[in-house]
Symmetry: C2
Subunit: 211 residues, 2 copies
C-alpha cells in the first residue's frame, strides 16, 4: 500500500499485467498464475509476486491469483477506476490521428478540449468539440475541467505550451513534440516520439550493416 515506493517501470508492468487480466477475464478464466503475468510483462514470476505484494495479499501459493479481484485492484491502483479529462494542444495531423484514433476512450481517457494557435484551425469542429484558440486556454481548461495535457505541437512551441498548461493547473503531460521539456517538481511528464523511435531503428540498421 506504499505507492510512493513504486517506480515508473513497476507502474508500466502493472499496465501490462492489466492487459493479461483483461484477456483472462474475457476468456472466462477465474485464476491467473504469476507465470502467466510474467510472460506478458517480460519479467520473472518472482518479480510479479514482488510487484503485487506492494498492494496487499492476493492469491494462494500454487493456486494463482483470482482474476477479477486482482483486475479490480490493479485498475484502482493505476487510477483507472474513473474517467480522466484530457486537453489536446495542437490540431495538426498527429493531433487529429490521436483524436480520431479513439483508442484512449476505452481506457477511460476523454479528450475534453483541443487547442491551436492557427486561425485556420481555430473554430473547426472535431467530433463534438470545437478547436479553441490557445489564447483562451486558461478559461477553457477551467470550464472543461481538464486534468492532463497532450502536447502535439512542433518542437519549437512545446515548452511554451507546457508552461501554459501548468499555469492552467494541469499536473500531468504527455509530450509528443521532439524536444526535452523542463517542468517544475510535482509535474509528471512522459515523452513519446514516433519519428525518433523510427530514426533509432534506421541508425541500428545502418550501422549493423556496416554502412
Amino acid at each position: 500500500m506504499c505507492p510512493a515506493k513504486i517506480s515508473e517501470s513497476a507502474v508500466r508492468r502493472l499496465s501490462l499485467y492489466l492487459r493479461v487480466l483483461d484477456a483472462f477475464e474475457l476468456a472466462g478464466k477465474t485464476t491467473v498464475s504469476s507465470g502467466d503475468l510474467a510472460e506478458r510483462g517480460g519479467v520473472t514470476p518472482a518479480q510479479v509476486r514482488k510487484d503485487l505484494s506492494h498492494f496487499g495479499s492476493f492469491g494462494k501459493r500454487g493456486l494463482g491469483y483470482p482474476v477479477s479481484e486482482l483486475r479490480e485492484r490493479v485498475t484502482e491502483i493505476l487510477g483507472l477506476g474513473r474517467r480522466w479529462r484530457v486537453g489536446l494542444v495542437g490540431a495538426g495531423k498527429l493531433g487529429a490521428a490521436l483524436f480520431f484514433y479513439d483508442g484512449f476512450r476505452g481506457q477511460g481517457f476523454d479528450v475534453a478540449a483541443i487547442f491551436d494557435n492557427d486561425p485556420d484551425k481555430i473554430g473547426q469542429r472535431w467530433g463534438r468539440l470545437v478547436v479553441e484558440d490557445i489564447e483562451s486556454m486558461d478559461r477553457v481548461m477551467r470550464t472543461s475541467q481538464v486534468e492532463m495535457g497532450i502536447i502535439v505541437t512542433p518542437a519549437v512551441s512545446a515548452q511554451q505550451v507546457a508552461d501554459r498548461l501548468i499555469a492552467s493547473g494541469v499536473e500531468a503531460i504527455l509530450n509528443f513534440a521532439p524536444t526535452r521539456l523542463q517542468v517544475p517538481p510535482g509535474i509528471t511528464l512522459r515523452n513519446v516520439n514516433l519519428e525518433i523511435e523510427l530514426e533509432s531503428l534506421a541508425f541500428a540498421l545502418t550501422h549493423e550493416n556496416g554502412a
Copy 2:
C-alpha cells in the same frame, strides 16, 4: 566514427539535435552553438560537444558549428540519407491513424505493405496499398523489400507477428502492442505504448492527490 560505442540515448539526442538543425536551416542561420543544441536535447553543452566529437571534428571553439554541414552529417549518421521501407502489421484503428498521419514520410519512412488476419480487412484499399493477408507475409515482404516492421496488433498476437516479421528478414521492429516482445540478438526492438503512458499519468495524479 565509432558507432558501436553510441548508446541508445545518445542516438535519441542526435535526433533531437537534428530538429534544432532543421529549424536553424529553415530560419537561414549558418551557425549553431552547443548551447542551442543542448537546450533542445535537455543536456549540457559539454554533453553536446562529447556526442558530436564521436563523429569527427566540427566547428571551432567560440564560433559554433556550421548548420548545414552538421545537419548533413547527423542525417547521414542516423541513416536518414536514404528512404526506408516499412511494413505495418495490424489494419485496425491505430494502424490507420499511423498510416494516414503521414508524418513519417517527411523523415524518409514509407509504408510499403500493410497486413491483417481479418478477412473483412484483407483486400481493403489504403491509399495506394491493399491490406494483405498476414499468411502471405513472407512473399509480400520480399517483393515489397520491407526492412522495418511496425506492430499495431492486439497484445495477444504481437509475439507471433514479431516472429513472422523476423522470419521474413526484418531486423528492426517498432512495437505498439502492450506487451514485452522477445527477439533474438541482432534484432532491434523499440516499444511505444500510448495507453500505458496515459495510465502512468493517471497513476501519478491518483497517488499524488493522496487518493
